[in-house]
Amino acid sequence: MCKNTINGVKTKGRRAAASAAAMSNKLICEMGLPASIANVFAARNGFSRGCCGPLPLPQDALSLPEFDLVALLGLDLDQVRSAVARISEIACPPCRTALSLLEDRARSTCHLPTRLRGLDDALCGGIPFGALTELVGPSGIGKTQFCLKLALLVALPTCYGGLNGRIIYMDTESKFSSSRLIEIGKSSFPHIFQSEGMAQEMAGRIVVLRPSSLSEFTESLQQIKLMILQHDVKLLIVDSMAAILLRENERSTTVQKQHSWCWPLSFLKSLAEFSQIPIVVTNQVRSQNNDEVFHYSFQAQKNDTGKTSERLESHLTAALGIQWAHAVTIRLIFEAHSGHRFIKVSKSPTSPAVAFPFVVESSGISLLSHDGLEVMGAEICTIHCQVQDTTFLIRGPSHTLVFNASLQQFLG
């Protein structure tokens, strides 16, 4: 089954990355090694399965110590070395120059515009394809609104500037609301949604999955892998990633935790890379303990004095830890302070540290200003949440914001 998909990818003529990913799964005997050595590998393969473990994949050959290979294959060291060199050469992904990457970029679409002009500029055109984008923020701030808007933009027909693609929406907290989606659609693209049947068609392109446990989640990820290739899926949203991982966390022991966290992470990353679609995940926040303000051991002493004033404020931090933060390519922080809500570009290889004030309207999120506010220093990583807006107090995304919108209509 897996092989079929790989061939499928090749025939579809997707990017070199895909064939590279396929390469490391290739069996050693298919690699075109010198005949004598290939035979040895093939022979040992069947025979050693019981006692020493099989050697069908290059990762086994490459991660075993040379001596083990010598003993296992019955070759001498020089032969083993040349075989390993050969396998490495074949398993190595193709080399490209940065210039050819740039040319590729120019040829194909590689960003999903958010239609928030300032943010699109900061991100060099929008949410990048083939990468993991993370939205972090307290609940009720507008992450789900952002996701719904993105889903809508992908579902739009090409003639209206959309991607005319399907969306997979993994809804782990049952926050997805079709009525809210249609409402956003109606208020942002009234001319499209007024035409008959259009709203249904758009909504029909969004596949909502509601996994309730991590095992279900991983299972559906496997299926998604096939679905993405067969159907024209252009966006994968996981809302929220933190909920499903943390739920699992309470049940399992630390060892399992380590493992179960890692798997979806690397899978999502490889999925994004492999299929060249944008993947958007959301993350919650939790309050940070005071003693948890992390420092390196060499800076421990000098920072103690300055921290007392800051500790009085409530500190929030992303619910999934530092390992997760390293793995995402782009991190957008949604936060509220000094009476406004802001989107901050907290981590991005392309853009400077900027923040945009925004409001949530009936048409979804809109920026108050397209000129980003420059954020100084470490501020870019902090998450604030000042409860000033009354609408925060009423939970549940769609109702809240409908309420908010009608309130604004009433006031305006």
Binding site: D68, V70, A71, L77, S297, A300
Partner: protein
């Protein structure tokens, strides 16, 4: 205790022959070649061996018979092919020595090399002993490389001979040594300084090795060179530094086969053999890894533990430049005081002075362990330093303790 060193060196060829046999049964390829070379490759004939032994001592027939008996018995049980090997081993054996001769050998040939760092020198009773394998263990950035550079400089500076530095981490920094030289010899005139810098720097040789096989190759080459080396004073190789040996050995350990461990032991034995026969002092570094419960332990574990004669542990105080040295194992001195530490100030910097500075002396005769003394800057030892005069004799008290310790397990440990 010196006797003990010799006994160990004796045991080593037997150990390898056993391993060789084991290996020939299962293994093939280059590893076997290494072992064969270790046993007979280096020493073509008796006369060469004899000429190497610095003071050809008279044979003592009784000890020879006693010691040889088990070897021949063992070989007798083996297959026919092994006879050649055993003959080679027999021929290879240097003459047996008795205690008095060993003592003479130790007295005349096994000098003490100052490390250039007073604290460590005092702790070790003078410095690095020739004929011994000294190991430095420590976590990352605890000053292991600095001690190595400092010892290399110490030997080169006193015109004792040539230092060979085998570098596995690209951490040998001539710049750093030059800086240490410049900050030490403030008194010299400028041109004298440049001259002495060139002299010192030319007597430190550096060779990069990135592979256990390269290391063994280099050691064999070195052995051949040493064999033909004229026994003169000025430019013989006195100190061999390997920084770090653990990074070469970690990648070959593990897995299902024991060849990795075998290579490690082989390397250890070869190093000790070279050290003993050619009166080199060998200094190796070993890093530390997290063990159970978060505590640190040396990367090369139980099987390596009994190879070095002296093990020093370095640690660095959190957030400061003070490093502590303590003795984990010492075959000559009384290790009962192993919690004695010397403090070093690590000044790893181009704008700073002479590298490691000793602080706080010693064990017994001076203040109780743990008491911090103010920093004492130690000028480099002159060639007429009393440390050199002592020629391998440790201070009297270790002798006393040695007598106590000898009959116990230390004797027979291999």
């Amino acid at each position: 205790m010196i006797i003990k060193i010799q006994v160990r060196a004796w045991v080593s060829p037997r150990g390898t022959s056993g391993e060789l046999r084991k290996y020939q049964m299962q293994g093939r390829g280059r590893v076997a070649g290494e072992l064969e070379r270790l046993i007979d490759g280096g020493t073509p004939n008796k006369s060469a061996v004899a000429s190497q032994v610095p003071m050809p001592p008279p044979r003592n027939p009784r000890s020879a018979i006693h010691a040889k008996a088990p070897v021949t018995e063992e070989v007798g049980e083996e297959a026919v092919g092994m006879e050649e090997v055993s003959v080679a081993i027999d021929r290879r054996q240097p003459p047996w020595l008795n205690g008095v001769e060993l003592l003479e050998d130790a007295k005349w040939n096994k000098h003490v090399l100052p490390t250039g760092c007073e604290g460590i020198d005092i702790l070790l009773g003078g410095g690095l002993r020739e004929g011994q394998l000294t190991e430095i263990v420590g976590p990352s950035s605890s000053g292991k490389t600095q001690v190595c550079l400092c010892s290399a400089l110490g030997v080169a500076d006193l015109r004792l001979g040539v230092v060979l530095f085998l570098d596995t981490c690209n951490s040998f920094s001539p710049h750093r040594i030059a800086h240490m030289v410049n900050s030490q010899s403030d008194t010299l005139a400028k041109e004298g300084k440049e001259g002495s810098l060139e002299r010192i720097m030319s007597s430190i040789l550096c060779h990069s090795v990135f592979d256990i096989f390269e290391l063994l190759d280099a050691l064999h080459q070195l052995e051949c060179k040493l064999k033909h080396q004229v026994k003169s004073s000025g430019n013989r190789i006195r100190l061999l530094v390997i920084d770090s040996i653990s990074s070469l050995i970690t990648p070959i350990l593990g897995g299902k086969n024991s060849q990795g461990r075998l290579m490690m032991i082989t390397t250890g034995i070869l190093l000790k053999k070279i050290a003993n026969e050619y009166n080199l002092s060998v200094l190796v570094t070993n890093h530390m890894v997290g063990g159970e419960g978060g505590s640190l332990k040396p990367a090369l574990g139980e099987s390596w533990k009994n190879i070095p004669h002296v093990r020093l542990v370095l640690s660095r105080d959190q957030g400061s430049n003070v490093c502590n040295v303590s003795i984990l194992k010492h075959t000559i001195m009384d290790v009962a005081h192993s919690d004695d530490t010397a403090n070093l100030i690590r000044e790893s910097g181009r704008s700073f002075g002479g590298g490691l500075r000793g602080f706080s002396p010693h064990p017994r005769q001076s203040p109780p362990a743990g008491a911090r003394l103010p920093s004492i800057y130690c000028p480099p030892l002159s060639p007429h330093s009393p440390h050199l005069g002592s020629l391998g004799f440790p201070p009297p008290s270790p002798w006393a303790s040695l007598r106590r310790r000898l009959p116990t397990s230390e004797w027979c440990s291999t």
